[in-house]
């Protein structure tokens, strides 16, 4: 188990190197090249161009440029934002925390509602409720997440005025945890919809298979109450499937938060990427993409290890 975990963890090193290469290349495909990308308006100033060329070795070969860039990035130096005129690293880490909070909130929705919906639709298989729920999950999974987000804003924030649509500023703001949670309810739900639908569908089909197994029949024959048959006997055997699919969704929820952050003005990495695109602040965009991808890789690794710890059969498979 431990050796497998170590092997699996070591495998992310080449992946991360590859990710850094792709992110590095982003500045080089900007029309005008990295100098224009890094300096923005200041690229017309020869002194600034000379300074940045010297600092980043832009007159040297590509491998050398990559090496210099990587050393800077590993040391936490991601360059200076052309839009906000501060080191990018000071922008990134508070935003990362906000995006992780949003991811965690979405995960709670996706798991709780996904499991409940999956079990309930399996129990009432082919009923009107089942058909309606499956249609709704399919529509939810077929719709743009930013559109769903806007519908939620219109309904719950503008019409009913139950929840705030915008205005989340900081985790450690004056309102405290309760204020953050209030701002989290809508965006986390919007972000969770696709994963919720995926989990519900997988759990439903697993439950349908599990409910007709001999051990459930045996439980029924022994006169156990229905909830015990369903939860203890059927659901227990759906868990591996549920955990596998949930693990896959964690990374998806983290990586997909961009649109939801834009709609709800959630001050995370996705919103930072959006505003840096609008401002043509390529340095900030590059760093944010690098951080999101690196965390994405690590989150997927953690989910994978958690799944294996819960279901050791996987290691030998």
């Amino acid at each position: 188990m431990l050796s497998y975990a170590a092997k699996r963890a070591a495998a992310i090193v080449p992946t991360l190197i590859g990710v850094s290469l792709v992110t590095f290349a982003l500045l080089h495909i900007v029309p005008g090249g990295p100098v224009v990308a890094i300096l923005g308006m200041a690229a017309s100033d020869p002194k600034a161009v000379a300074a940045v060329t010297r600092e980043l070795g832009l007159d040297r070969s590509l491998p050398e440029q990559y090496w210099i860039w990587l050393r800077h990035a590993l040391g936490g130096n991601f360059g200076t934002s052309t839009e906000f005129h501060v080191p990018v690293s000071t922008l990134l880490f508070p935003k990362l925390a906000h995006t992780l909070v949003l991811t965690a909130g979405s995960l709670v929705y996706a798991v709780l509602l996904g499991l409940a919906l999956g079990i309930a639709t399996a129990l009432y298989h082919r009923s009107l409720f089942d058909r309606l729920a499956m249609l709704l999950t399919l529509i939810g999974a077929s719709a743009p997440v930013f559109w769903i987000g806007l519908l939620l804003v219109y309904l719950f924030a503008i019409r009913l005025q139950w929840l705030p649509a915008l205005g989340m500023t900081s985790l450690i703001g004056p309102g405290g945890v309760l204020e953050v949670l209030k701002h989290l309810i809508l965006p986390a739900f919007a972000n969770s919809i696709i994963s919720l639908a995926v989990i519900a569908r997988i759990v439903r089909s697993s439950m349908l298979e599990s409910l007709v197994q001999p051990y459930v029949l045996a439980a029924r024959a022994r006169g156990l109450p229905r909830w015990r048959q369903v939860i203890v006997h059927s659901f227990r055997n759906v868990l591996p499937d549920a955990i596998t699919i949930t693990g896959l969704q964690v990374g998806f929820l983290f990586g997909g938060a961009l649109f939801v952050e834009v709609v709800f003005g959630w001050p995370g990495l996705g919103y930072l990427i959006y505003s840096s695109i609008e401002a043509r602040d390529y340095v900030t965009m590059q760093a944010a993409v690098l951080i999101v991808s690196a965390v994405f890789v690590v989150v997927n690794l953690a989910a994978d290890l958690a799944r294996i710890a819960l279901d050791p059969r996987e290691v030998h498979a």
Binding site: V19, S142, F146, W147, G255, I273, M285, V292
Partner: protein, 292 residues
């Protein structure tokens, strides 16, 4: 006893059986009908609406839906929303289909090499693995943002990020076939590698790609709309569905239909693709078909 009872039923071709299975899937047929109508509507847009999608009527600003003359209402510049939706379909379909076609070609080439050759294939597949490590939508957005906005960039960046997924589908098929008896036979017959790949493996890889591409086409419509929403797609005043949703955001409280209507268009097209994809997947997979 008539002869026809004794004679075994004529075996129907696999293609006919698949067609039959697809025709029995009511939702898939409905999806196909909706899609055909949508494509026709896009092609015939100038005949279906008297309005120009980019020029507004200053006397008809923010007319709500179901008003006489403006079935879906107008936007803050007095442009007819129905006209913008119809002409917008002319952007939405190519934006979803072209990247998938391009990625299918690239994915077939890379996947065949990746799945068939052991040494070069390993390198190709490892390189593609890196692209899986970056969230797909984020990578595409970053590429489009770096290259500069516009339709060609969106198509290119979508094609780049879809290619690894299609290559993986092809590589899996090719790797499974690598040691199949009929490939061994072809080898014994002295056929060269490239001939085995394009005569024996390619015919098996293409259906897999078609199914994968169709089942994901709905997601591609949504994906493409995302670029428009972020302002990276076709530039104003082009009637891009995603950009229309973003424009409507500003007047969500006073004119909610501006964002709602293009969203419905996206959902209808994407749902239609999803049902067709499901139907096709079941129809082409005899194992799934028998469960019907």
């Amino acid at each position: 006893m008539s002869a026809s009872v004794l004679a075994p039923a004529a075996p129907r071709s696999a293609r006919l059986q698949a067609l039959d299975a697809f025709a029995r899937d009511r939702m898939a047929v409905l999806g196909l009908a909706v899609l055909v109508l949508a494509v026709l509507a896009a092609l015939l847009a100038p005949l279906l609406t008297p309005y120009d999608p980019t020029i507004g009527d200053q006397n008809a600003i923010l007319v709500p839906p179901f008003s006489p003359g403006h079935l879906l209402g107008t936007d803050d510049q007095g442009r007819d929303l129905l006209a913008r939706i119809l002409f917008g379909a002319r952007l939405a379909f190519p934006e979803a289909v072209i990247p998938v076609l391009a990625a299918s070609l690239a994915g077939l080439a890379l996947g065949l090499v990746g799945g068939f050759s052991r040494t070069v294939g390993e390198v190709v597949m490892r390189a593609l693995d890196v692209l899986f490590a970056i969230p797909m939508v984020l990578l595409a957005i970053a590429i489009a943002a770096a290259l500069g906005s516009g339709l060609p960039t969106v198509v290119l960046s979508m094609a780049i990020v879809i290619t690894p997924y299609i290559a993986r589908v092809v590589a899996t098929t090719a790797a499974q076939l690598r040691s199949a008896p009929f490939i061994e036979a072809a080898r014994c017959a002295g056929f060269r590698d490239w001939r085995i790949v394009h005569r024996e493996i390619l015919p098996h890889a293409i259906p897999a790609v078609v199914v994968y591409a169709t089942t994901n086409m709905g997601a591609m419509v949504v994906f493409a709309a995302g670029f428009g929403f972020l302002g990276l797609g076709a530039q104003p005043p082009a009637p891009d569905w995603g950009a229309m949703i973003a424009d409507g955001m500003r007047s969500l409280a006073s004119a909610p239909w501006l964002s709602t209507v293009p969203g419905i268009a996206i959902v209808v097209v994407s749902l239609a693709f999803n049902y067709i994809g499901d139907g096709l997947r079941v129809a082409l997979d005899p194992r799934l078909r028998s469960r019907l």
